[in-house]
Subunit: 146 residues, 2 copies
């Protein structure tokens, strides 16, 4: 069984502007109706961690102060068995000519391969009363007020 | 560049109980601290759609009434270039002996390979005022009241 992801585009981070997701020409048809959504889930490949050492990592310390040693499935460590990144981002604009999706932010490097984009659906993706360990409670909320 | 996902476990759906994520013994160390979270993001491989025809699909109709033809990156269609499933689920319990994470629900078949688990972090994963097209507005919210 080969679980091989397809690259549909890449992240580009111009110095002076918001980041863009540049979609390969052959995948741009998949973007139809995306202008009706405000937010997307971007799945990207953490290429710089796609090596045997990082992929065998199972525990480390989250960067937050007072964080306890955590399993990688209980943290967002980039060093993990499947080095896949997951970012919720806001759409700023779509450009049909350059096949670019301009977004508000993304925690991925310039040139990062994008393997999937899914629309953010509040009915299945939003959790109002999620519990997290103490060390994550000081994180600054990005798209909520509480 | 090989973007090959690692299988860390599989979904099991007993007829009479809630579904479980059965983690392979060699990956169980990665679950440390997961008991401090209420919800997780499960990334799984849509094996039944991992074929050339489904992976070349770029547009189809979401199952909602009145839905318009949509690109797969603007829908949650399982037929998409990278057949990766994304589910937000609630944790019911963890069992260190059987290495099982019992969850409240998941929209994946019995035997589905799990390729990653990430803790749900409201500060980056929750969006309070996301916009979706009209045809998704009648979906029933799972973990919110609005």
């Amino acid at each position: 069984m080969d679980l091989l992801a397809s690259v549909i585009g890449q992240v580009e981070k111009p110095d002076d502007r918001k980041p863009v997701l540049v979609i390969k020409p052959e995948f741009w048809d998949g973007v139809l109706q995306l202008d009706k959504f405000s937010h997307i889930i971007v799945l990207w490949w953490i290429t710089e961690r796609d090596n045997p050492e990082d992929r065998s990592n199972l525990r480390d310390y989250p960067p937050q102060e007072s964080a306890e040693l955590s399993g990688v499935f209980a943290s967002r460590s980039p060093a993990r068995p499947t080095p896949i990144g997951h970012s919720i981002v806001g759409i700023e604009s779509l450009n049909d000519k350059t096949r670019e999706i301009r977004i508000d932010q993304i925690d991925a490097f310039d040139g990062t391969p994008i393997v999937d984009i899914k629309p953010y659906m509040p009915t299945s993706d939003r959790v109002d009363n999620a519990i997290v360990p103490e060390w994550f409670r000081s994180n600054v909320p990005r798209y909520t007020k509480t």
